[in-house]
């Protein structure tokens, strides 16, 4: 089917006129792209641009309605992921697909289509170490995968594909779980393998830095269509960004209001003192977290996901009990009760708001009233709810924050991610805010929403709120924060004003070896 050519093991891939629709939505519309053998190809696009749909069609998860797939110039039929694997196509997903309870070696061996019925471990271990000797990088094979760090898991995912002798790797945002240094290391190693014509790589990403540093060629998708592409060397990031966003109007960012020089430092509003928390297995997830946030200041917490950011947000929003330590707001001890949130004006936008801050089956109006439903004018006599004021308030917020919903009576779970985010933000920012806790506010949103949500956060800072921003997107932190803190292994490893630090320093602290 595929003829082997001398010297070049890497596959060439070409799609011609791929089209895939889901209901009325054209997720892919006549997309053609070409990946030269031994090249590093980037697939750029916003969320919902069709990148994932395209690779899922290539990998056989979906069947394209039209269009064809060529491997090394020959027509290939991929009916399911198993066919794709047999043809030499391998994929690294955004989420790990290694089995947590199996060791690295077990994961590798069982992934083979011809795994023996009875496994001779002595023989397999010898074969594995011979295989690792040929690879540019290694990963621990004897520990259960659940005990590995994210970077090691990602390496093991890639090693697995190479072990299976896949000659074209598709990577779906492979660096979202890695530190900048780990990302550079892994992408660099893959780049080396493409240069040696061992493999071809298709990488889905939205980070221009990775495209310009590692990719040879690029294809840009927008709303399911190919809008541009070519050799990376011949394109500027501005050009790529323009193609990605298209003619979307981006509202102007709220400017950062600078404090007059020489004025005394603002009052400390939020203070975390020695927060300590453990997970279900008794492992410390928060290890004496100390941090101060002043009025009119955004403190951004950077870090690789899984280093304690989620437990910190949970502790601040009352979802996790602390083993030790106190939270102070304006020198008052803060217990996460409904009354305290109201009295001290603490608000928040947790990550995955649909899961963490709404009741999906309840209406948009009800969800928007969660902060105020038990207070006048929504309540009479302290217990009788009046839906009238609730609905009119919801209408006002929906209009002001441009939440796209059929009516205030629709279930909030039916809204798109960006609109849920806007609805929750509208609820949280509708009153006076003293403390605002925001976690990954723009994750998975399109450019228009990102810009709008960031300016809302900046507005709150400018009007004097103390803002704690927890984000896995370093660019977001660098753009919004006045002060950067780095979280690593459950503790605050580094704090610096944003003007006195740089990406490399932050990255070193994120990796935990600084």
């Amino acid at each position: 089917m595929i003829e082997a050519r001398t010297g070049v093991r890497a596959l060439a891939l070409e799609t011609i006129g791929m089209t895939k629709t889901f209901g009325a939505l054209a997720a892919l519309d006549d997309v053609s792209l070409r990946v030269e053998p031994g090249s590093f190809h980037a697939l750029l696009g916003e969320n919902g641009a069709g990148k994932s749909t395209l690779v899922k069609c290539i990998m056989g998860f979906y069947q394209a309605e039209q269009g064809s797939l060529l491997l090394d110039g020959a027509q290939a039929v991929v009916r399911n992921p198993r066919d794709a694997r047999a043809l030499g196509l391998g994929m690294v997903y955004q989420h790990f697909t290694l089995v947590p309870c199996l060791t690295g070696a077990e994961n590798l061996v069982i992934s083979r289509a011809d795994a023996p019925a009875v496994i001779d471990w002595a023989k397999e271990k010898r074969a594995l170490s011979a295989f690792l000797d040929r690879m540019p990088f290694r990963a621990p094979l004897d520990a259960p995968v659940s005990q590995l760090a994210a970077g090691e898991k990602q390496k093991l995912e890639i090693l697995k594909l190479l072990y299976l002798d896949q000659r074209l790797l598709i990577l779906d945002e492979p660096t979202s779980v890695l530190t900048p240094q780990e990302a550079d290391e892994i992408l660099g190693l893959l780049k080396g393998m493409t240069d040696a014509k061992e493999i071809s790589v298709v990488m889905i990403t939205h980070k221009f830095r990775e495209v310009t540093a590692f990719a040879d060629s690029v294809t840009i998708l927008r709303r399911g269509r190919r809008v541009g592409g070519g050799l990376v060397a011949q394109m500027s990031t501005q050009e790529m960004g323009g193609l990605m966003i298209g003619d979307t109007q981006i509202s102007a960012r709220a400017a950062r209001a600078e404090r007059p020089p020489g004025s005394p430092p603002a009052e400390t509003v939020l203070e975390l003192a020695g927060l300590l928390a453990t997970d279900e297995e008794g492992i410390d997830v928060l290890d004496r977290v100390n941090l101060k946030v002043r009025a009119g200041e955004i403190v951004g917490i950077a870090g690789v996901s899984g280093n304690g950011q989620a437990p910190l947000v949970e502790a601040l929003s009352g979802q996790r009990t602390l083993r030790d330590g106190r939270i102070f707001i304006r020198q008052q001890a803060f217990e996460p009760t409904r009354d305290a949130y109201h009295r001290l004006k603490v608000f928040g936008l947790p990550e995955e708001p649909l899961k963490n801050a709404t009741v999906p089956h309840m209406t948009v109006a009800e969800n928007m009233a969660f902060r105020s439903f038990d207070r006048p004018p929504n309540t009479r006599f302290g217990w009788w709810l009046s839906p009238g004021p609730m609905r009119s308030k919801a209408r006002e917020l929906i209009a002001r924050y441009r939440v796209k919903t059929q009516s205030p009576e629709s279930a909030i779970g039916d809204l798109s991610g960006g609109n849920v985010q806007r609805a929750v933000l509208a609820r949280e920012l509708s009153g006076e805010v003293d403390v605002l806790i925001v976690a990954n506010p723009c994750f998975g949103l399109d450019f228009g929403s990102v810009s709008e949500i960031r300016s809302r956060i900046m507005e709150q800072r400018n009007s004097g709120a103390a803002v704690l921003l927890i984000s896995e997107d370093l660019d977001e932190i660098l753009e919004l924060s006045d002060k950067v803190a780095v979280m690593s292994q459950g503790r605050i490893a580094y704090v610096a004003p944003v003007g006195e630090t740089d990406r490399a320093t932050i990255g070193r602290h994120m990796a935990g070896h600084a």
């Binding site: 309870c101 061996v109 496994i119 471990w121 297995e281 008794g282």
Partner: protein, 306 residues
Amino acid sequence: MNDSLVVIVLLSLVGGALRVSTPFIFVALGECLTEKSGRVNLGLEGTLVLGAMSAYATSYHTGQPWLGVLAAGCAGAMLGAIHGFVCKLPRVNDVAIGIAMMLFGTGLAFFFGKAYIQPSAPRLGEIGLGDWTGDAKIASALQINSLLLIGVAVAIVMWWAFANTRWGLILRMTGDSAPSAKAMGVSVDLVRFLATTAGGFLAGVGGAFLSLYYPGSWNQGLSSGQGLMAVALVIFARWNPLRCVIAALLFGATGAIGPALQSVGVTQGYYFFNAAPYILTLLIMVGSAGSKRAARDAPGELSITK
């Protein structure tokens, strides 16, 4: 004098452990197999009772107790297969189905078993491990049934197979991460169906021991919740087949506390001591609820640990 009393009590505890533990071993191994695939089958109590009834009836009609054991396994496999099939339908909860299957299994056994309460069926033979000592007490305490040896052998094979065979790895993979299994082209539903069916077979065999060896007759109060206790035992054994055997022996020994004390003349609190296995179950559940290690060893797909 006192020494010999202690020896008698210890001997009866060991004897009790060897005699009573076999059904626990089989049910626990069956449940362990099922849970390793990521599904809970709470219906094994019903499987155990139906297995006991089928074994007794088959042995009575054919005169072949070992055919009875096979029939018990097949009846158990059938219940397991029903559980496995229903659970793969969309939006079905395995715990709820398990409870329904438990009631179905016991009900079916009582319905067909009415006729077999009176007649006497040929029983399984025994192996005298202590005969060489020449001591009647030791000999009677160390009499075991070959099903115990088979149970231990099955446990060792399962333990080995989980780590050293393709089937074992696929089973663990399915139980720990269904998305990974699917990505590898494994049919999660099929693996779970087979695991539940095989688990049912083992639990059925455990039932055969109850009616054909000890206590060795068929009646409606035969099981007294042993199938449910075995589920707790799997958690205690942290999903390891070898630990399942040890835990089952421990359960057997606690079950023998009451009779052992009675045999040396301690009759006070007889019913209390008879409740020892149930108290142990309760303590294990309370203890393992907060156990970090149990949480780590639990298969990731289990609905009771999610």
